[in-house]
Symmetry: D2
Subunit: 307 residues, 4 copies
């Protein structure tokens, strides 16, 4: 299939919608991003890459980092990680405290904020240091993206910390239920550093190959997770990857994916490719409006879907 | 792959667990079923069928009927059906009124009780008759299962009606929000007739072929739904097919499926086969305990998974 | 104190606000009431009555009937009534199902709809007949109001039944939790007959004397409830008498009271008087807008308050 | 009435129940209190005081401090305080985040934790300093109790801060909704200093006189709040003073009161007296078990009740 032609078409078709989304505005660093930008990258198992738009432009990966911390958490703790977090869709907004209180401080899944904060806490406990936990996540991402230049934006992470009262509330609530080992401020600070990592769609589509290929990077041959874990990470992406619009994303796109409020989305086509799109304008559920549309078009045009 | 050998192994491996589940006891007709029964059937696209256990024994399909009414509803109303019901996982038990009230009487998806009652209401409105709505669903099931003997058990449906106060509450709540066209009693009565249809795992695995084959029955060549709709029905099965254990089922089994409190589960392996298991003992979320385990073993042994 | 002068002043002062409320419109019989009507009556222990406005005009007492059914229920069941219903403010709208589901079908208090439906069920069980339960409530009201002409409006009660899906949902939910003895339709039907009783402010202010005088009608000398029960009914009126605006009513008026969506409110001044106001326009919480204002003025002008 | 005889009787009658309550154990300083202690004090308007039990023993007043900060907040902000907090019963546990999220960060009333934290924030904003806010509250309490020895226990307040994650969650949630002016840590720290003030039942019953006497201390003649505000503080105590057992307390005792997890309760008999009881063992709603029982007996024996 001529993927380049397909994504070129998509780039054209989505252009009229770039003005419809709303850039995340809870911190200045994100609010100032020009919403009328679009990028899409597809990376095959042999390393061939198809790009369109601003595929070199770095953006804040935000919640896409949850895929990577979940991978590390699973590798370290195995299924005992599920004592701390669940793997069910939440049926609630990404930052709701309601369900977390009803369920006694155990987050529904690793892809809502409370869940990812909890996984971060588990990483800090394992590495016995916030710095090491940060560094290990960074190294993991550099390895799967095969790019040592990737780093976290300190201005963004400090800004997140300053305005991160909702996440502080989530972390304090978990702590009050005994489901957080380390100090709240430390955990949330590391969490925000992961969220503030900057990548572009080239890097992110490349970074998805280990999940598309059931745990083994198809280019380097490095195994990052077991076959079963890779499949299960994909599963949780499908059922929980887009907050309370996960069902809708699965319905439209039919592929496992994870979005971030920076406007990025990563998607896995099992046994075939990694995909990433970027368009900073968000829909009402906090997912990239044009990014979702682009992926729906991609699924329609290629027929690629796990269903 | 030697599917017969695999399901024989599974039947042996699950036997010790048959005593662990709890048969649905809210109506006498279900409460009296012997819990220590197991059946599993696999039907390939050429009609080849592999069976183990009580694969000829009829049981109440209960919520599996939601797949069939949803298919009919989609065919009739197209995407306008989503004005009445959503397609998101609920994060709540199958019969909860909480979310339905917060979301102003619009059910989260067609596979929780409120959603299926709502679809039934839409069918009655379309056919302008409860009897015809009943009959059309029955005819559809007979057609996809290629078996004219299939019928609904009137003792069960009357018993459901007698004890169905929770479902009456759901229907009345939707009616109070203006999201139900017909009389509450009439709609719930038709809904229960669908739930009381009796089939065995042979019939049900056969009946799944139209969804596995993207809308076309691979044996008869009849197209029941469009490719895209078939994929989307599969998607909703994956994200919402097991109530508030949908994430867990997807995680363990990795295939779209739908369960019923009668102990049956249907599963689709896209482009390959239909599967059905039956074991009346339920787990705490109301899904067949041994059925889920059997499907997890099947996925492990065959490597079949959409992820 | 010159009560006649005070209520005359109040009638003048509230006139400009009569157009602000919104008449209950869920049934035609209530929707057609002219909103620009006002009445207020004060009855002292010696029978002296002060009236202003349409004090002879009959209106639907609606939820004010809950005070009377609660009195009867307490007399019959004593404190064992609290096995079925609580006595806590709900923190939720009057017809919410959310809390009722979380609390397993036990209504928070006798003055929300679920609670009053439940008390009605208890009365039917005691009298072993819907007709007798209806008649006993009617007789009780006629006795405390000392007026045999009082009756229920059948057009209203039938209309309530036709549009009463929310109340049917509440009753079915309680039934599903085993907290309703009789058939849902029968209970709700009797409940609506109580709601459809028609009285005027003269009758209602008179009817409150037994509660103001701690159980004994000060005119006839008849004891209707014990001292302690009278005090406790007053307490529940104060904490729960105005749905989710009970705190606000207590804050503004400082007296125990109960409102109905027909626009009536009854109030008790312990050891002194019964009061009733009527103004059909409701505020957003479903209580008479001008009625509440009139009572606040009365409390301010007279200094009467239990606090 | 012989109040001394009455409280002596009560002290005897409640003794067998002293072992039934459960001391608050979330911080060591409270967990180590001997549960089998009881004290009760009654102070009349002429200063006559009746005491029984450990009426000189200091204890942590905890949430009783909410009455005092609310008084100050009302005096400073008047009714504009209600832009930040409501005055409705919550229908939820004292520290629940659920309702706070649904209601967009506006606490239901000043007597649940979120509400009192919010009032503390308002005081800090007014005094432009945490220290001054602390000191003003302390001076107010010393004045109404007419006792300059009263102080806050720093060991307790630091311990509260260390284990106060639930309150930190509440404050962060309000901050995220823009309903908190100052830094979360600062506000919660001042809040805990108020909670850690130590008083005995003699002091507390004396301190209630300004509310019992509608704003004016009957002994010193100092007016602390207007008549109307005093009545309204009493109202909010009645409807919201005992968390989700406020209705039950009002039902049993029939008098406005406020409890603290230190085991203290204050009660107001309008126009007559201030009362305080202390018994550290709590019931399941977090109110003094024996304290509530003692007040119920007092109400029964004296017939004192606002209803």
């Amino acid at each position: 299939m001529d993927y380049q032609k397909i994504i070129n078409e998509i780039a054209q078709e989505v252009t009229p919608f770039l003005k419809d989304g709303k850039v995340a505005d809870y911190i200045p660093a994100l609010a100032s991003v020009d919403p009328e930008q679009f990028a899409m990258s597809v990376t095959l198992f042999d390393g061939t890459q198809y790009n369109v738009g601003y595929a070199d432009r770095l953006f804040s990966i935000q919640s896409i980092s949850k895929v990577f911390t979940f991978t590390l958490g699973l590798n370290i703790y195995g299924s005992s990680l599920y004592k701390r977090i669940g793997r069910e869709p939440s049926g609630n907004p990404f930052n709701s405290l309601v369900q977390l209180e009803y369920e006694h401080g155990k987050p529904r899944n690793p892809f809502i904020n409370a869940g990812a904060i909890n996984v971060t806490d588990a990483l800090i406990s394992h590495y016995e240091s916030e710095e090491v936990a940060c560094e290990e996540v960074m190294e993991f991402i550099r390895s799967i993206a095969d790019d040592n230049s990737i780093s976290s934006n300190e201005i963004v992470s400090k800004s997140e910390m300053k305005y991160g009262h909702r996440n502080m509330a989530l972390a304090n609530l978990m702590k009050s239920f005994g489901n957080l080992d380390n100090e709240v401020d430390d955990v949330v600070s590391v969490y925000f550093k992961h969220c503030s990592i900057e990548m572009n769609t080239k890097m992110l589509s490349r970074a998805m190959l280990y999940l598309a290929n059931h745990g083994v990077d198809p280019i380097t041959g490095i195994r990052y997770v077991s076959v079963q874990r890779a499949k299960r990470i994909n599963t949780v992406m499908l059922t929980c990857g887009h907050y309370d619009a996960s069902g809708d994303f699965a319905f439209r796109v039919g592929l496992p994916g994870k979005s971030g409020v920076g406007g990025g989305i990563v998607v896995v086509v099992p046994k075939l490719m990694g995909i990433s799109v970027w368009a900073p304008g968000l829909n009402t559920q906090g997912n990239s409006l044009v990014g979702t549309k682009a992926l729906e078009l991609f699924s329609d045009k290629t027929g690629l879907s796990i269903f």
